[in-house]
């Protein structure tokens, strides 16, 4: 029997003409791509050309596994179908071109039968299924977070027509050549059945029309895709490649010693970096950022998706002037437009202050868009340059400046909580292994002092050698920094780093995840390099080492609320759960939104110190989610969460106790 293959470009004698068209396609593609490139290049510089192989392989893995896309099962699988289907079709088309153009014999034998015939047919089918699911999802409005406009439908319909016309040409070729291996192309074979009764002339003509139609549509797709949101095919892998390799939540430091310093934060769009603008171009408005956004879900104005989409729209709008109209030829109207800042155009003043920096948007984003830092950059300008911020924050700022704590309680009162406990200061125990950092809440807040007390008891029980800074400790500056007050943060951080260095501190244990973030991620930018861990991590370690025995707490079942800054920022989901399960002998019952999908308590990003005038109270929503578990206690590992959830539970008239895991563990150990 003859070796399996097929005639390439059957019935298309002048197929060379497609190469002429292809040149046009490449030109269009390049023009539109270059136009986009120029837009994001309007952004400020940002150095991301380091670690090339790490960047490449990381991006490669994320693209081909579609890891971030399939995080959400439903739409993820749909996208997986289209992605892998398209990829196979692209490979097949390339192989055909190679054989035809360079005469490399590829499409023969088993490879032809299994891969080119059967494999590619199935790939096309999978792709069609994916596109149909996508169309139905949009048409039936299955997901309310998914905005659909005409262009979305047109692009999907175009893809579907390209795919169907591809199968139609295959079916016509099967009939026309009486293909002996037709059965290896099952989908094409089904199409062939439809054309089986046609006269040879009609068949030839139909084939030529559909073949050229398929080609023109596919080329149109290629020519124009960098003009539309389909450009995500290139931009998202690009965004993966240029991802930040720094710890989550890293903010660019401002050097206040710099005499040349003229502005801080972001006022106009182009003060965002090119990567920020690339983020905006990579956004395909899938709406996943909104699906766990506390501000959006509680009925506030902020939508992380709108924010990023507005950035892209403004980038285009302003780009038209910046790139095309020379400076001296701009009209007054154009000048005014360019003068406008991002607050008011990209994000409203209200929405700017609604972000709790919980990071759920970035965690969920399949394109790796980073949202909260963009919000904070604009806040930094508003606070440092305009003094425009919610009025209630002013007292907090002044309190931080004067007394180094957000409540403004006298700084000499910081150690009052240790009055009835024997807690050594670093002067008294200069060689302590751990510097315990209770933070402002742990030191001043009546409720959190109980947590500090429990944690101190546990450390003593386990024989941990520790000391505190005492009255020399100041607020870590997290709230100030995330409220945009980089200056107050800078002053606090500078003093703390100096104090810690002078005391010769190497290891620090915090009980507040916000202190953890500031000390471990923010301070190294200013020369403060310490090994920092969270109390949940130290406690889990002490339990694992047998220094704390397994106890049993009074609650049969507890539910654990993941703090955003311990979870999404530091990736620590296991240590607190181990403390509760192994140390306190509690059974865990999870809330629907847990671990990386945890729902914010509403206090992050300085919201602990702000009012919440719009929408539902975020802490009420989270408390309700906890109450639904019917657990005997709600446990957390963050003083802000503790306060917010205590209030939230009380608002539901529930008696569910809200505790820090150190308290639950201490009760299990000592009672």
């Amino acid at each position: 029997m003859q070796e399996a293959t097929r005639e390439l470009y059957w019935n298309i004698p002048s197929h060379w003409f497609m190469y002429v068209l292809f040149v046009g396609v490449v030109v269009c593609f390049a023009i539109f791509f270059y136009r986009r490139y120029r837009l994001w290049k309007l952004g400020a510089p940002e150095e991301l050309s380091d670690h090339k192989s790490e960047r490449f392989f990381g991006a490669f893995k994320e693209v081909f596994t579609q890891k971030r896309v399939v995080r959400k099962k439903s739409s993820g699988i749909m996208h997986l179908f289209i992605f892998w289907g398209m990829l196979f079709l692209l490979v097949a088309t390339t192989l055909v071109a190679l054989q035809d153009h360079f005469g490399i014999p590829i499409l023969y034998g088993d490879f032809y039968l299994y891969f080119i015939s059967l494999g590619i047919d199935l790939a096309g089918l999978v792709c069609i299924v994916g596109v149909i699911i996508a169309l139905v999802r949009r048409a039936a409005k299955i997901n309310s977070n998914l905005e659909t406009n005409t262009a979305d439908i047109v692009w999907l319909a175009l893809l579907l027509v390209i795919l169907l016309s591809g199968f139609a040409t295959e079916g016509l070729r099967i009939v026309g050549t009486n293909d002996p291996w037709a059965i290896w192309s099952p989908v094409g074979y089904v199409f062939a059945l439809m054309f089986s009764g046609m006269s040879p002339e009609a068949l030839s003509l139909t084939h030529q029309i559909i073949w050229w139609g398929h080609l023109v549509l596919a080329f149109a797709f290629l020519a124009f895709f960098t003009y539309s949101k389909m450009a995500h095919v290139l931009f998202i892998p690009g965004n993966y490649y240029y991802r930040s390799l720094k710890p989550a939540g890293t903010l660019e430091p401002i050097d206040f010693e710099d005499e040349e310093l003229e502005t801080m934060g972001v006022r106009t769009l182009e003060e965002y970096t090119w990567k920020d603008l690339l983020d905006a171009q990579a956004c395909i408005k899938c709406g996943r950022c909104q699906e766990n956004c506390p501000a959006y879900l509680s009925g506030k104005e902020l939508s992380p998706m709108r924010f990023i989409q507005n950035m892209a729209a403004q980038n285009l709008e302003r780009g038209k002037i910046l790139l095309k109209v020379p400076e001296d030829a701009r009209t007054e109207e154009q000048q005014t437009l360019l003068e406008e800042g991002v607050v008011g155009t990209v994000i409203s003043e209200e929405a700017l202050w609604q972000c709790t920096t919980c990071r759920s948007c970035s965690e969920e984003c399949p394109a790796r868009v980073v949202h909260p830092e963009k919000d904070i950059k604009a806040r930094t300008y508003q606070v440092c340059m305009e003094s425009a911020f919610p009025p209630e924050a002013q007292q907090t700022f002044r309190n931080l400046e004067t007394n180094g704590n957000p409540w403004g309680i006298g700084w000499q009162k910081r150690t009052e909580w240790t009055k009835d406990l024997d807690v050594p200061t670093i002067e008294e125990n200069p060689n302590a292994e751990y510097l315990y950092w209770p933070g402002c809440s742990g030191a001043y807040d009546a409720r959190s002092r109980k947590v500090s007390t429990a944690f101190v008891q546990l450390m003593k029980q386990a024989g941990v050698d520790f000391a505190i800074l005492g009255n020399a400790e100041k607020c870590c500056g997290d709230s100030a920094r995330r409220l945009g007050n980089e200056y107050v943060y800078y002053m606090l951080a500078q003093e703390n780093i100096e104090t810690l260095k002078q005391a010769g501190v190497k290891k620090i244990v915090t009980q507040c995840p916000h202190c953890l973030q500031a000390l471990s991620v923010d301070y190294p930018q200013m020369g403060g390099n310490f090994e920092v861990l969270h109390h949940s991590e130290l406690l889990a370690q002490l339990i694992a080492e047998g220094k704390l025995k397994a106890g049993s707490c009074e609650y049969a079942q507890v539910t654990y609320h993941d703090s955003c800054y311990l979870g999404r920022y530091h990736g620590q989901y296991d240590a607190p759960r181990n403390v509760l399960k192994q140390g306190a002998g509690a059974q865990l019952v999870e809330m629907e939104r847990n671990e990386s999908k945890s729902f914010c308590c509403g206090a992050g990003g300085g919201h602990m110190w702000l009012e919440e005038p719009q929408g539902t109270k975020i802490n009420d929503m989270r408390a309700e989610q906890a109450l639904q578990t019917k657990a005997d206690a709600l446990v957390t590992a963050c003083p802000f969460c503790l306060t917010m959830l205590t209030d939230g539970v009380a608002a539901h008239d529930s008696q569910m106790p809200v505790k820090d895991l150190a308290e639950v563990l201490a009760e299990a150990q000592f009672e």
Binding site: M264, V383, C384, M385, S387, R398, N403, G410, W411
Partner: protein, 260 residues
């Protein structure tokens, strides 16, 4: 329009006050702030300047240690400052300070002189009224509002049971009560720029005052000793049936607390 604001630096109202072996208030390490009442005055002065043009001058009697409070006023929008520093000045004596301020202000000739009606720490409420007396200009104390109409100021003077609107010809002196203006939060740009604004430090010789007029010997009032506020003692809970408990409480209020 030139406005002079007299500014003092005080210990933060939340600070823990301690006394040293000599019975003096320990200021080392205490959180120091611009006096809150002076801050209201600075804010109002800056608002008036922003609305009408002119200049705001900060005047302080003290030492280099008071510069942070002066810088704060400058970062809020004051244009320049004068600091009178001299070892011979008894800064605890309001009369001495009033004499010095009056001498500086005579030379400056401002249209409006402002300051806090009292300071947040010693709270004597003496200095500024004395300045007005020495200079022979009108003064209105405890003001919660100030509007300008040409060469006349319309000010709201707080009374025990209301507010009195007073019309005063300038130049005049006003002392601020809480409510006059909500102090702004300076931007970092303002803070940076404040470091470039001039602080003119002068000694007694430069303003032509005889040290004997402002030294400890000139004091007419002497503080003999300071005592800390007694620790708050726990309240008393009266138990029993409501009618009995109420009767007993009323009895205690009359016999022990002597408030009824």
């Amino acid at each position: 329009m030139k406005i002079a604001v007299c500014v003092k630096q005080t210990i933060d109202t939340e600070a823990v006050i301690t006394l040293d072996a000599d019975g003096q208030v320990v200021t080392d390490g205490a959180a120091l702030i611009i006096d809150p009442y002076a801050e209201f005055a600075v804010e109002k002065a800056v608002q008036l300047k922003e609305a009408n043009g002119g200049e705001v001058v900060v005047v302080t009697v003290g030492t280099q240690d008071d510069v942070p409070a002066i810088r704060h006023a400058l970062s809020m929008g004051a244009d320049r400052a004068i600091l009178i520093e001299d070892a011979n000045i008894d800064t605890t004596n309001p009369l001495a300070k009033a004499r010095i301020l009056a001498a500086v202000l005579e030379a400056e000739q401002p249209d409006i002189i402002m300051g806090g009606y009292k300071s947040g720490d010693t709270g004597q409420a003496q200095t500024l009224p004395r300045v007005a007396a020495i200079m022979g200009i009108p003064q209105v104390g405890w003001i919660t509002g100030l509007e300008l109409e040409g060469e006349t100021a319309l000010v709201d003077h707080e009374l025990d049971d209301g507010v009195e609107r007073v019309s005063v010809a300038l130049p005049a002196l006003f002392t601020a009560q809480q409510g006059l203006a909500e102090p702004r939060y300076p931007t970092v740009r303002d803070i940076m720029q404040s470091k470039k604004k001039p602080i003119d430090t002068k000694d007694l010789a430069a303003i032509g005052i005889d040290p004997s007029l402002v030294g400890p010997a000139a004091a007419q009032v002497v503080v003999k000793s300071y005592a800390l506020k007694p620790e708050r003692e726990g309240g008393r809970i009266v138990e029993g049936d409501v009618p009995d408990a109420v009767a007993e409480t009323a009895g205690l209020l009359a016999s022990e607390a002597k408030v009824l």
